[in-house]
Every structure is written in structure tokens, then in C-alpha cells.
């Protein structure tokens, strides 16, 4: 049909970037980063450093996987940073109980994950049943959890945890840090759920056009609550891993994590208005930011300058993708 053809053609206005594939912006930035850092620092391209980067970025990357689900439905979860702290102090305090370690450790993990699930379900109910915009609902949860973490610990970190608790994040399997393995597992699962299951398809549909999705027979409330639960559980998983890494429950852990996580998702090409995006993109986004931080650290760039650089790199990457689309 001619009409269709001319629309397609009209969209492809000539532009330097236009023939390039999606997510090329992130590919270029990542390639530039890797080439630059491996030239500037001999240590950058060593196996040890690569494992180290993967460990460092695993915490936010795991949350970003959950955030991708939420953002795909055109929602947002601002409570993740505070939830990391709250989960951390809950898990740490349980790990510290004078119970046999084979009881306290699983209990600490289970309770931590439960916190995330309940928090996510609560956010989901606020968003669906009470029609509170996700931004406001999770903003409120953010300050609730942060405050609760301080109240619970009296503002002091929980120290002196059993040795075994630190092994969760400190241990290695065949030389690979456990958080890295968990991250890989989480991304494989997230990929399978989004690409191969009904739930995943419904997530995209709800984000694309919620009312049309409902009229197509999708229980949109269930999908929305589902994505917040997924995000909550993965956030708590990260919270437990972080507490284990620093071997303490810190009420000020995870400050500003929400911004890093959202940046990773958006840099990875997921649209904040929902319905468009991929989990692989988010992983690349998290790697992009993680590698950048690591490289700047290796080059001894001062941390104030780092923040500015990270901000610009995020902008440039997203800008390239926007230019390509035009």
C-alpha cells in the first residue's frame, strides 16, 4: 500500500546515524571506554580487574533488571535505594541472632527477600487499587524505608556479623565472585520471562497501552503488582549482597542507587513511557556505567570529577540513540 510505504520512507529522513542499528549509542560508548581505558591503564584489561568490575556493578545491575520490568509498564520505582538499606539491616540483625548458623543464615536471606516482596506488593497495590502514580507511591516508600532503617538501627551500623554471612558476597566459585554469578543468573531468568512467557508479553502490552491491554483480556492490575514485586525482590537480593560485602547492616547503604539504576535502564534503551525496551539493553547500560566508574578509579580521577563525567556519558549515549531515531 502506497500510504504505508511513504510513511515508512518519510520517517527515514537522512541522518548520519539513521542507518545504524538500535542500541548503537551504547555500543559505541562502551567500545570507546574499553579502548581508552585499556590504553591508559595496563591493569584495566586483566582477568582480575574484569571480575572486580563485574562484582562492583552486580549490585546495581541486579536491581536494574527488576527496574526494567517496572519501567516497561511505564512505571518507576524510587524506593530501591532505601529498600537496599532496610533489607540490609533486617538481614544483618537476623544473621546476628544467636542461632545456629545453618538456621540464621537462610532465615536472614529469606526474611530479606520477603521484605522486598511485601514492599513491591504494597507499591503495586498503591499503583493499581488506589491509583497513586508510581512516582509518588515509591517516593513515599523511599522515605519510609530510609527512616525505618535508621529507626531500626538507632542510626548506627550493625557490626560483628558471623563470618559465614560475609561469604555470600565474598565467596567465589571457580574464581568468579558469587554476586557476579547471581547477576548472570538473574539476567538469564529476566530474559526468559520477558521474551518467552505470557507474563513478559503482557508487561510490554500494559506498558504500551494499558486500557487496550485490559480490553484484550489482560488482568492489568496483576501484571502491575507483579512487576513491582519482581523489582522489590531483586532489590532486596542486592541489599543482602551489599550487607554481606561490607559485612554489616548500614542504614545509609544504597543512597542514590535509584538514580544509578534508572540511568542504567534508560541508557540501555528502555523508554520511560513504557512498552519499549530490552533486558539485554539494561545489562549493557549497567556495564557501561560500571566500566566507566572502574576506569576512572584506576586512573585516579577524583570522585567529584567522576560524577560529572558519568553524567555527560549518560547524556551523550542517549543523545546518539535519539539522533539515530530521527
Amino acid at each position: 500500500m502506497q500510504w504505508k510505504r511513504c510513511i515508512v520512507k518519510a520517517n527515514k529522513r537522512t541522518n548520519f546515524f539513521s542507518p545504524l542499528p538500535a542500541k548503537f549509542g551504547i555500543g559505541i560508548t562502551l567500545a570507546v571506554e574499553v579502548i581508552l581505558f585499556s590504553q591508559l591503564s595496563p591493569y584495566f584489561f586483566t582477568a582480575e580487574n574484569i571480575l572486580n568490575v563485574s562484582l562492583q556493578l552486580s549490585i546495581t545491575a541486579i536491581i536494574a533488571a527488576g527496574m526494567t520490568f517496572v519501567i516497561l509498564t511505564s512505571g518507576i520505582d524510587l524506593s530501591v535505594g532505601a529498600l537496599v538499606a532496610f533489607t540490609g539491616v533486617i538481614s544483618a540483625s537476623i544473621a546476628k541472632l544467636s542461632l545456629p548458623i545453618f538456621v540464621s543464615l537462610p532465615l536472614a536471606v529469606a526474611a530479606g527477600l520477603m521484605v522486598g516482596a511485601v514492599s513491591g506488593a504494597f507499591a503495586g497495590v498503591c499503583v493499581t487499587r488506589y491509583a497513586i502514580t508510581p512516582f509518588i507511591a515509591t517516593l513515599a516508600l523511599m522515605t519510609i524505608f530510609r527512616g525505618a532503617a535508621y529507626i531500626f538501627t538507632d542510626g548506627r551500623p550493625i557490626w560483628e556479623l558471623p563470618q559465614q554471612f560475609a561469604l555470600l558476597a565474598g565467596g567465589r566459585v571457580f574464581g568468579v565472585p558469587i554476586p557476579t554469578l547471581i547477576m548472570i543468573f538473574v539476567y538469564m531468568e529476566a530474559y526468559i520471562v520477558l521474551e518467552w512467557t505470557r507474563f513478559g508479553r503482557y508487561v510490554y502490552a500494559v506498558g504500551g497501552n494499558k486500557e487496550a491491554a485490559r480490553l484484550a483480556g489482560i488482568n492489568t492490575n496483576r501484571i502491575l503488582i507483579g512487576v513491582y514485586v519482581i523489582c522489590g525482590v531483586l532489590t532486596s537480593l542486592s541489599g543482602i549482597l551489599l550487607a554481606s560485602r561490607v559485612n554489616s547492616g548500614q542504614p545509609n547503604a544504597g543512597l542514590m542507587y535509584e538514580l544509578d539504576v534508572i540511568a542504567a535502564v534508560v541508557v540501555g534503551g528502555t523508554s520511560l513511557s513504557g512498552g519499549r525496551g530490552t533486558i539485554i539493553g539494561t545489562l549493557l547500560g549497567a556495564v557501561l556505567i560500571g566500566v566507566l566508574r572502574n576506569g576512572l578509579n584506576l586512573l585516579d580521577v577524583n570522585s567529584y570529577v567522576q560524577q560529572v563525567v558519568v553524567g555527560f556519558v549518560i547524556l551523550i549515549t542517549v543523545m546518539m540513540d535519539q539522533l539515530r531515531k530521527k
Binding site: K4, I192, R198, Y202, Y204, E211, L215, A216, G217
Partner: protein, 502 residues
């Protein structure tokens, strides 16, 4: 005297396709010149060039005998060209007056503040000239579509527009609102405004048009006085071949009762009773707001009913969500397929399979090869024009989008389908195809409800027509006895007229 507007040899080339080819068009002051053609014929491209939204490759725009260059919409306004699109360009939260004077608000003398009193006064004056009385302080989103359209026209007129193009102005209007629009148009032409009128509804051209230009594949096929044309020839020029009939003949035989509602109350619905039989196409006529869409939504479980009972094949049903209705075998093709039907980000296959994924699983996973295969069959069966199944549904034309939604409901094996304004904004050729599909489904025993504001369509397609007014059924007409006049009388509740007639 030179014509108000003359387009001379306008051409526009997109890569690979010639959207406009040497198009000539003329508009005199005080004239209504209709522009017709199928989707893709080049009407929109021509309007975009006139409004400065697109640049032409060659040709001239001559206004009042002077050659002008229109590079932007603000240029167009400067030359007195105004275009009112189907989707209005109003700011929903702003008031009527604020919309009319958007960007040129009257300012109080001496201080940089908006003079609201003056603004509302001149807004009321502007509307009064169009014979309309509206509260100028209410936000426009609270107005009906017809009222919003009047606001758009008032806005254009306040900008001293002398050439006004209306793109599908009637598509969301009821018969009565349309008559009002025609009154406004005549008022404008008597003041010397030239009107370009674009519509798929040919009968309107004979009601309001002075001249008509037919476009096909970017070329002017014919331009003549409306008095010299008839419906048949217009269609022949548009489609490029003879359509023996605008509505296919089905030869349906009425079977046993399939569905029945008893005394439904919900929102404005006030005690609705009707029954639908196999092998019949049951039309629902009425003015916008008569409760037809509300009734469809209640049957489909999208809205809850307050009281009343529904029976499908003799068994009582009470769907509380679209999912439950779908599982019972009911499908709803919503009005406004873009807003309520399609997921724009998804491709054709995903849009079609969306309601049937439960049947397309292998273990816990989607069986994508089975999905693609079952959808491919439907794409062929309904002749959906798409390069491939993974084309974004946004790139399809209106008729093909409607077929995508229909395919969705065929995949769920619906036993009963409710079509709400299925041919709004669809061109003649695609309409015929949709009617044929509806007839074929009815012949296969699927119960069909057809809600439409297009009376000729209801008369041409339906076996029986129920008319609604204000949440109640006011009458029922068999195919043979129904006429536009009888339907309108029932729809406006001027029932005594009907009796007098018969």
C-alpha cells in the same frame, strides 16, 4: 477576479513513491470544494503542503492571484490558511476562551497581564458568529467532540482565516451535530470564506459541496461541479474500478437465539432488553451518548452492571472482566481502535495473538512458531496488507489495523462479536472488505452486533436495527422497513413523526 486559492502543478516525491503528481486545485471565495479519495490518495499530503508542514518538490501556491511560499504553519496562518484536523489541536486543560486565543491573548493596557474579561468577551462574540453558545470558562476536555470542533473553527476564524480546510470533520459527529456543522459552514461561506471539505462519507458531499476533486494515487482523476457527479461515479473515480454495490449481499438465514439481555441497568442504561440470533447482523443506531457503547462495554465485562441478566446460548452469564467475557466467547472491537484496541509498540503478530496466548503455550513458554503460524493463516484469510508479521502495527492503514483487531477476535474463536464504529475513518474499498468479513462471520453462525453512526451502513448491512435514545431502546426496525428518517425519529425520540408517516 482570480480564485481565492490556486494550487498549480503540485508534486511531491517520497523515496520510492510519488505522493502527489502535478495536482491542480482551485478554491473560490464563498465556495465549498470537496476533496475525496481513498486513504493514501494524497489528500493528507496535499493539506500538509498547504499548511506548510511539508515542503513541495514543485508547483505553485497562488493566493488571490499572488504566488506565495508556505514554509511553516505560521506562514500558512499569515496567508489566511487554516486547517482543522481530525484530532483537534486544542489544549484539553485550558478553557474555551484560552484555547481560542492561544498565543495571541489580549493584554491589559500598561501591564503585561492577560485581560481575561476582554478575552472571554471576544470569545463569546466569536462563538456567537458561528451561532453557538458555550460557557467560555470551562476546560475544553469537558466539551463534546462537536463542541470542541466549533471551538477549533472559532479559533481559526479569530485568526482571520479565509481558506479553511476541514479534514474528516464528520467522523465523530452525530447526524444532528453534522447538520449544525453544515449551518456553520454555510455561515462562513456567506462571509466569503472558502472551505476545503475532506470526507469519506460521500452523501455529505452532495449535501454541502459546490465542487469536488477526486484524487487517486497522487493524481487528480476528476474535478467537477457536485451537481454533475453522482455517488456511483465518485466511487468509480476513487477506487479506479466499478464497485457494483457499496454493501455486499449476504443472504443470511436467521437461526436460533444466541444471546439475550434482560433489563440491564448500568450508568445511563435504563432497562435494556434485546436478543441476538445466529446468522443475523444486529445493528444499533442512536446519537452519540445514547448508551450504545456503554451497553457493549457492560456485555463485554469492561464495565459493571447494576442489575439485569444476560444469557449466552441459554445459560446465564455475568462476566466481571473482559477476560471472563473472552473466555465465554465474546469479543469487542472497540470504537477508536488506536486508543482502545491496538498496542502501538507491538508488531502485527503480537497484536493479534494478545488475547489468545493461553492457547499458544508449550509448557510455561510461548510457542512462537505456533503463534506465527496461526497468525499467518489469519493474515492471509483477512488479506491484511503488511510486508510481514513483524511490521509495527503503527505502519498499517486504518482498514488493516481494523482487520488486525478482527483477527485477534477470530483467534479467540469468538461466538459473538460486537463491532463499535468499525469503519470510522476507513476508505470505501476497505469498508467493503470489512462488511464482507462481517457477513461471512454471520453466515458461519457468529452473532454480530454492529454499532454505527453511519446510517447508510446500518441500512446496507444489518438484518435488524435497534435504535437507542438516552439509555433506552426506543424501537426496532426490520431490514425491509428501516429508513434513515425512521431511525432518526426514534433516535431523537420524535416518535409521533414515525407514526404519522406510517
Amino acid at each position: 477576479m482570480p480564485p481565492l486559492l490556486r494550487l498549480k502543478g503540485i508534486s511531491k516525491q517520497y523515496p520510492g513513491v510519488r505522493a502527489l503528481n502535478d495536482v491542480e486545485f482551485e478554491l473560490n471565495a464563498g465556495e465549498v470544494h470537496c476533496l475525496v479519495g481513498e486513504n493514501g490518495a494524497g489528500k493528507s499530503t496535499l493539506m500538509k503542503i498547504l499548511s506548510g508542514a511539508l515542503s513541495k518538490d514543485s508547483g505553485e501556491i497562488i493566493i488571490d492571484g499572488k504566488k506565495v511560499e508556505v514554509h511553516s504553519p505560521s506562514d500558512a496562518l499569515k496567508f489566511g490558511i487554516g486547517i482543522i484536523y481530525q484530532d483537534f489541536k486544542l489544549v484539553p486543560e485550558l478553557s474555551v476562551a484560552e484555547n481560542i486565543f492561544l498565543g495571541k491573548e489580549p493584554v491589559q493596557t500598561g501591564v503585561p497581564f492577560i485581560d481575561y474579561a476582554a478575552m472571554h468577551r471576544s470569545a463569546r462574540l466569536q462563538l456567537a458568529q458561528l451561532g453557538e453558545e458555550l460557557d467560555t470558562t470551562v476546560p475544553v476536555h469537558t466539551l463534546s467532540v462537536a463542541q470542541q470542533q466549533v471551538v477549533e473553527i472559532a479559533k481559526a476564524i479569530s485568526q482571520k482565516v479565509t481558506i479553511l480546510a476541514l479534514d474528516e470533520p464528520s467522523s465523530a459527529l452525530t447526524e444532528r451535530e453534522l447538520i449544525n456543522l453544515f449551518t456553520i459552514i454555510r455561515r462562513l461561506t456567506s462571509e466569503g470564506v472558502g472551505i476545503i471539505y475532506i470526507s469519506h462519507r460521500l452523501e455529505e458531499i452532495f449535501q454541502i459541496g459546490d465542487r469536488v476533486t477526486v484524487l487517486r494515487d497522487g493524481k487528480v482523476v476528476n474535478a467537477c461541479r457536485v451537481a454533475e457527479a453522482d455517488r456511483k461515479s465518485l466511487i468509480r473515480w476513487m477506487v479506479g474500478r466499478e464497485l457494483e454495490d457499496e454493501y455486499p449481499r449476504f443472504g443470511l438465514t436467521r437461526g436460533e437465539e444466541l444471546f439475550r439481555v434482560e433489563n440491564i441497568h448500568a450508568g445511563i442504561l435504563n432497562g435494556v432488553n434485546f436478543s441476538l440470533h445466529r446468522g443475523e447482523i444486529l445493528g444499533f443506531a442512536g446519537l452519540v451518548g445514547a448508551g450504545r457503547t456503554e451497553l457493549a462495554r457492560v456485555i463485554f465485562g469492561a464495565d459493571v452492571k447494576e442489575s439485569g441478566r444476560m444469557f449466552l446460548r441459554g445459560k446465564e452469564i455475568a462476566p466481571r472482566s473482559p477476560r471472563e467475557a473472552i473466555d465465554l466467547g465474546i469479543g469487542l472491537l472497540t470504537e477508536d481502535r488506536n486508543r482502545l484496541g491496538l498496542i502501538p509498540e507491538m508488531n502485527v503478530v503480537e497484536n493479534i495473538s494478545l488475547s489468545s496466548l493461553a492457547d499458544l503455550l508449550r509448557g510455561p513458554f510461548l510457542d512462537t512458531s505456533k503463534e506465527t503460524e496461526s497468525v499467518r493463516v489469519l493474515i492471509e484469510q483477512l488479506r491484511i496488507k503488511t510486508p510481514h508479521g513483524h511490521e509495527p502495527v503503527e505502519n498499517l492503514s486504518g482498514g488493516n489495523r481494523q482487520k488486525v483487531i478482527l483477527a485477534r477476535w477470530l483467534l479467540t474463536k469468538s461466538k459473538m462479536l460486537i463491532f463499535d464504529e468499525p469503519t470510522a475513518g476507513i476508505d470505501v474499498g476497505a469498508k467493503y472488505e470489512i462488511y464482507s468479513l462481517i457477513g461471512k462471520l454471520a453466515g458461519e453462525g457468529v452473532g454480530i452486533v454492529l454499532i454505527s453512526s453511519d446510517l447508510p451502513e446500518l441500512l446496507g448491512v444489518c438484518s435488524r436495527i435497534i435504535v437507542m435514545h438516552d439509555g433506552c431502546i426506543t424501537g426496532e426496525l426490520q431490514r425491509g422497513e428501516a429508513t434513515q428518517e425512521k431511525i432518526m425519529a426514534l433516535a431523537t425520540l420524535a416518535v409521533e413523526e414515525v407514526h404519522r408517516e406510517s
